[in-house]
């Protein structure tokens, strides 16, 4: 039985000029709820991403990522096979149950003031120069030092953590095989950081995040040292690039909409949450989330079969005009449905409360201190707009906001 009709749109997601934020993707979404691609099905509409993202008939789709790219052994290969992203069923649930309480939003909220101080400290370093390369001057140090604060690593060590996390992050690129030696070496160093933190908190418990993970127990069960190590490395791996990229993307969106930036500056506390959610909705760093079908099932006009690859397109679903008015633009005062920039279902991003909380500190701190933002000509360079995207460089010119302006709030 044919499962795809000729009328279903086709997207070549490997083409060098393929972009998520494009007419081609929006037209495909307006034509049909999914598209065929050269590598699996792409779910495009909000309604269907919302349903299928959480479907128990699919599992997370990147378990075999290293093998698919020619990496069959080594440290990264072994770490990946055991990390929470690719575990399923009770193996996954058990670790998540033990780890979740450390990520409690109440515990994370307590760090909000510290995140705010950090944002302002970074802004102080360049605010008088009228120009900043935003990735180097804010997004990278902010995202990495947030991790240092969370994990209790000396913040002065952020350049090392940044370098290691970026190197290991390259494992999610298609050049993983060519770079695997550097990736494995960086991962080994991250393992050493993790081991040190674990043994230190086992001997000297503190009122902090790592201690909560080390002490986590339930029904007599607790995380082994190897599981703790794997999880701490996952936090660094999953928490740094994503937050850095998302902050750059948020700036890109707000630079296009100066009125919304001014609105945030005038009501920073009230609109912080909307600023973060709208940035994630219209310009998510995680452009798609991949699933693999495990059971045969029917959804609308399509039969899914075990082994099928299914991509949930977060940008396309977050800007679906069926659900969002003026869909590609930030509106801090609009009531919006939830987006799926953090994925969904059992694999919903573990660190999203941290990411939300730190960005809710960063964006208002920036908005209340700088205005008249513009990208300096030739000063920006971007990763491909496909898998995980964001700025490589983002040089922004701005005016320092006068104290009296922010006082009007």
């Amino acid at each position: 039985m044919p499962t795809t009709a000729d009328t279903v749109p086709y997207l070549d997601i490997s083409a060098s000029d393929f972009a998520m934020a494009s007419e081609a993707v929006r037209d495909a979404r307006d034509a049909h709820w999914y598209a065929r691609t050269n590598y699996g099905i792409a779910v495009l509409s909000y309604e269907d991403v919302s349903t299928l993202m959480k479907s128990p008939r699919m599992i997370q789709g990147s378990a075999k990522w290293p093998q698919h790219h020619g990496v069959h052994d080594g440290l990264f290969h072994d770490w990946w096979a055991k990390n929470l992203l690719v575990l399923e069923g009770e193996d996954h649930h058990r670790i998540r149950r033990l780890a979740n309480p450390a990520f409690s939003p109440r515990k994370i909220k307590a760090l909000g003031d510290r995140f705010d101080e950090l944002a302002n400290e970074l802004i102080d370093q360049w605010i008088d120069s009228g120009e900043v390369e935003f990735v180097e001057g804010f997004a990278a140090p902010f995202a990495t030092r947030v991790l240092c604060i969370m994990l209790g690593i000396d913040e002065d060590e952020w350049p090392t953590i940044n370098r290691l996390a970026s190197t290991v992050g390259a494992a999610l690129g298609v050049n993983i095989k060519a770079e695997i030696q550097e990736i494995d070496a960086a991962l080994e160093e991250l393992h050493r950081y993790a081991d040190q933190l674990i043994s230190d908190r086992q001997q000297n418990p503190k009122d902090d995040f790592v201690t909560r993970l080390v002490d986590a127990s339930r029904d007599g069960d607790s995380l082994s040292d190897a599981q703790l190590q794997n999880l701490l490395v996952l936090l660094i791996f999953g928490g740094m690039d994503t937050t850095r990229n998302q902050l750059g993307l948020a700036m890109q969106s707000f630079i296009r909409q100066p009125h919304q930036w001014e609105l945030l500056a005038s009501r920073p506390e009230e609109l912080a949450e909307a600023a973060v959610e709208e940035s994630l909705r219209v310009n998510p760093t995680t452009r798609w989330v991949t699933r693999e079908v495990v059971d045969t099932f029917q959804h609308k006009d399509l039969t899914f079969h075990p082994g099928d690859t299914v991509h949930m397109f977060t940008y396309a679903s977050g800007t679906d005009p069926e659900v969002f008015s003026d869909p590609t633009r930030i509106n801090l005062e609009a009531e919006r449905k939830p987006h799926y920039a953090f994925g969904g279902g059992v694999h919903h991003c573990l660190g999203h409360f941290v990411a939300r909380s730190d960005m809710q500190a960063a964006l208002p701190a920036l908005a209340t201190r700088i205005t008249n933002l513009g990208i300096v000509e030739g000063g920006d360079e971007w990763m491909p707009d496909s898998g995980n995207t964001g700025p490589v460089r983002l040089k922004i010119a701005f005016d320092k906001r006068e104290a009296s302006e922010t006082a009007q709030g």
Binding site: S50, T51, K54, S55, P56, H93, R96, R97, N100, P101, F103, S104, P105, R106, P338, F342, G344, G345, V346, H348, H352
Partner: protein, 64 residues
């Protein structure tokens, strides 16, 4: 105390069913089902479920 889920907010991610499987589950259609009542000993797990809910849709209502 009773568990109450705000259905207007709940997005059926099912994280609560991982945290407190005795009280929360997703049915075959992926829709959340839950019990309002729970044994005192399970309060800790109910609180974990409330905390972990990505959209913070779970609440405790009333005093014992």
């Amino acid at each position: 105390m009773k568990v109450w889920v705000d259905r207007n907010i709940c997005d059926n991610h099912g994280q609560c069913a991982i945290a407190a499987p005795d009280n929360f589950s997703l049915d075959a259609d992926g829709v959340l089902q839950y019990k309002e009542d729970f044994p005192d000993a399970d309060l800790e797990y109910i609180e974990d479920a409330m905390d972990v809910c990505p959209v913070q849709a779970i609440f405790l209502k009333g005093e014992q």
